[in-house]
């Protein structure tokens, strides 16, 4: 029996405490509807988001990732998002180089008042991940034994 259910992506969102988390909260309190595809992880600042978090999220079953913080100039710690911006302009290229589609990664700025934008970002990220399907890369890695081990 084939599975005909629609693919619902699992998206991990790393968001900063001061802007995007508040924006997402506002989206909730103003009852904006957006796809229930996103699991939010709140961190102090977009500058706190280490690329190893993204790798871990993929290992644990995420199909896509959203990274969002305060707009440039609005960082609670004045410059964390500028460092993040440099990092995030390069790290996705590494993932792309090893074969992870860029559609799985969504980087953006969402302020505390941009509830609408948050809803739109999640909707767009969901569509982008849907366009490339489930991430089937990492699950087999967990199961795989090193070469030759099975023969012992």
């Amino acid at each position: 029996m084939s599975d005909t259910r629609e693919f619902v992506p699992r998206i991990t969102a790393f968001v900063c405490n001061w802007c995007t988390y508040a924006g997402a909260d506002l989206a909730g309190t103003t009852r904006l509807a957006y796809p229930a595809t996103v699991r939010i992880i709140r961190v102090p600042c977009s500058g706190r988001i280490d690329p190893v978090f993204l790798i871990k999220a993929f290992e644990k079953g995420a199909d896509g990732i959203i990274v969002s913080g305060c707009h440039p100039g609005d960082c609670h710690y004045s410059s964390g998002n500028y460092y993040a911006r440099r990092r995030w302009s390069i790290f996705p290229k590494l993932l792309e180089f090893i074969g992870i589609e860029p559609e799985r990664l969504t980087f953006t700025w969402v302020s505390a008042s941009e509830a609408r934008k948050w809803a739109d970002v999640v909707a767009e990220a969901t569509e982008r991940v849907k366009s490339v399907g489930p991430l089937a890369h990492f699950a087999p890695l967990a199961a795989a034994a090193p070469e030759g081990e099975g023969a012992l």
Binding site: I90, F97, P146
Partner: protein
């Protein structure tokens, strides 16, 4: 030419400018030159210089026994590595002297060697040219042209070979962290067994931590017992950093922060998705 190297090493030791000269001596095979630490003027005659001096001696710069004043028989990449270490506050340039050389075909017995003018890191501002390695650039382009699934299969095959010996880390001048993220277990970000999942995490994070810092000396790949194409990852990231920020590791001045330790208001952000 080797006489020049030996006499400069002897001068530096005699004058007390440095307490050790880090160079090469003959290995057990013709195709091998191994690191040699000269502390006594009488030992300078063991120093050699040939196309098998593959570079990478900058890795010793952060070792305590060497950081208090050392001269390095250094390739252009080594000189750049040392400049990155100064930039990152790991060593002070006053403690470093250079006996620079460049080989036009490293590893090839017929490779021509010339000595570089200069003694202090600042002297090499204009002579640390690195011939662009078109072979690596072409290989990066070839992989990028593959469909994503094929790229994944390519790297899966590469990373599956990894035995997690961390020889790449030990050989790298930039991998000087007292506690590497790969050794941390609370929380454990990177699985430590030599299995595919941890191998992916390790190799990606290793490459990432060298982005904007790697000078493409190739020591990691030469140290790898499994022949994993580590330089491909490093070269790909170096090219991206160069294109995005007009920044090449080791070319900046020492008082300028590294590419990911600084920012500009005008940094591009076309990669952002705007909802």
């Amino acid at each position: 030419m080797i006489d020049t190297v030996r006499s400069r090493a002897a001068e530096l030791l005699k004058s007390g400018e440095v307490s050790v000269v880090v160079g090469y001596r003959e290995g057990r095979r013709r195709e091998l030159a191994v690191p040699h630490f000269v502390r006594d003027v009488a030992d300078v005659d063991a120093l050699v210089l040939d196309p098998f001096c593959s570079g990478g001696l900058a890795v010793f710069a952060t070792r305590e026994a060497v950081s208090q004043g050392a001269a390095f028989v250094a390739t252009p990449q080594d000189i750049r590595s040392l400049r990155v270490l100064v930039q990152e506050g790991q060593i002070t340039s006053e403690n470093v002297r250079i006996i620079g050389f460049a080989c036009q075909a490293p590893g090839n017995p017929a490779g021509e060697i010339r000595l570089l003018e200069g003694s202090r890191l600042e002297d090499f501002d204009n002579v640390i040219e690195c011939a662009a390695d078109n072979n690596i650039a072409a290989e990066v382009a070839r992989i990028m042209a593959m469909p994503p699934e094929e790229r994944w299969r390519f790297w899966r095959a590469e990373f599956d070979k990894c035995v997690r010996c961390y020889a790449c880390r030990a050989a790298c001048p930039m991998c000087y962290c007292a506690e590497c993220i790969a050794d941390r277990n609370l929380p454990q970000w990177i699985e430590t067994t030599a299995r595919p999942r941890g191998n992916f995490a390790w190799n990606l994070i290793r490459a990432w931590h060298l982005a904007g810092r790697c000078t493409l000396c190739g020591a990691c790949e030469r140290a790898c017992s499994e022949g994993i194409k580590l330089t491909l990852l490093n070269a790909m990231l170096a090219a991206e950093v160069r294109d995005a920020f007009d920044y090449v590791a080791g070319f900046g001045c020492a008082d300028e922060a590294g590419v990911f330790a600084s920012f500009k208001d005008s940094d591009k952000e076309e990669f952002l998705i705007d909802g």
